[in-house]
């Protein structure tokens, strides 16, 4: 029993190493909107993250967004998962659901601003059977990226700056 546990632990540890390096900066390479490839005022936000997912898996990040800034979220994945990624945004303090891209036909991109600085939970899910014809084998894994960008909210009206 002890040997089995040890073997499984070593295997899981080795997988950890491979997964950490597999997806790395996937979001920076593949989640950038086409329009962003040209010069843009949107700036990369260090709270972005990539990870290796399999179907049916959900993962969350807790991030901080500031008042007075516009944010743009874009979720993308390797083609093996199709385009049916789901993500939800919750207020981390109240658990209030603030946005669900399922209500927007799984639109990957979302632009928003907040009336106050706050912590958000962004929950990303890869639905089971997410590929187009459900031919996908359940044991496949693929990278999912969550790109967060920000810019200063445009001032409205006259300003001294």
């Amino acid at each position: 029993m002890r040997k089995i546990f040890l073997s499984l632990f070593i295997l899981s540890t080795s997988l950890m190493f491979s997964q950490a390096s597999v997806c790395g900066q996937f979001h920076r390479k593949y989640c950038t909107p086409d329009s962003k490839r040209e010069k843009s005022e949107w700036q990369y936000n260090a709270q972005s993250k990539s990870g290796l997912f399999n179907q049916g898996m959900t993962s969350k990040i807790r991030c901080v967004i500031y008042k007075g800034m516009d944010y743009r979220i874009n979720v993308c994945c390797e083609t093996t998962f199709g385009d049916k990624l789901n993500y939800k945004i919750f207020d981390a303090k109240t658990n209030e659901l603030l946005y669900d891209n399922a209500a927007a036909e799984n639109e990957p991109m979302f632009e928003f601003q907040s009336t106050a600085t706050r912590q958000l939970i962004i929950e990303v899910s890869v639905p089971t059977g997410s590929t187009e014809k459900d031919k996908h084998k359940p044991m496949d894994a693929a990278c999912v990226g969550l790109l967060i960008e920000h810019k200063v909210t445009d001032k409205q009206g006259f300003s001294q700056y």
Binding site: L52, T58, I61, C63, V64, F112
Partner: protein, 297 residues
Amino acid sequence: MKRKYLLIAPLAVSLTLVSCGGDKTEGEEELANVDSAKTEAPTAQVTETFFQVPSPGEMLTFIKMVGGKNNKNVSFLNSPDNQKNYSDTKAKALNFGIYSCDLSYCSIFEIGSEALKYFKVVKQLGDQIGVSSAIKPEVLKRLEGNLGNPDSLSVITDDVYFSSFETLENSQQGPTLSLVVAGGWIESLFIATNLSKYDAKSPVVERLADQKYTLDNLIEFLKKYESDANVASVLTQFNELQAEFNKIGEKDAAAASASDQSKKILGGGKELVLSAEQYKVIVDKIKSIRNSYTLTK
């Protein structure tokens, strides 16, 4: 791009442990029950939370934007000459974060000659903490070639920070990574407090108060590695700082104005109200922690 893996039960376990800042998860607590986990479908849902921290550059860019465009003051940065004083792992990692933030500051505020000095010290410390592959010698040439171009300088120095982060993350150096992030964050606050004076309506003071939330995330991130004595000592200091941030008052945030209706607004939430007394206590605490890392007064 499609990759296939042998996704047996340990993968579900390992997925929960990958990357920094992961909270305890449904999968993680199953480590001791791995036998039963073997029978679960490989697509079983795994829920995990990662605690993210904005980069120091985000704070510095904000300060510049709200009125610090002409600032060229470098007197409060950690002098590159101090690098020789950092001999142990903890000091090297913390000051790598601090110097990376100083490098970012020099780039953002267009102090190119100082940026070169800070790049060299970041490179030297980076080699010592295991991120030499992230800071290649050609980066220095790119820096030298863009001294008059602040936008390019910022991009280059951001790349140094993010590449170092990624290298530490991929090589599973979690404790070192957490110390680097802690050092960079405290330095960004130290710089902010050196560039601003208390004014309840100052955007910089508001942003400083908002660091309460970032500190929450950072502490959760550090907790992941608190079994490391170096991280544990930093965590103790940050817990003390958090206690001061937790004293900041709150009020309901203003409702979205009618003119904002064209874009999606996440309403509600609380605004923090930082008093002059609280500001002073927090600034002193930040200075004390930061100087304990730089070994300066």
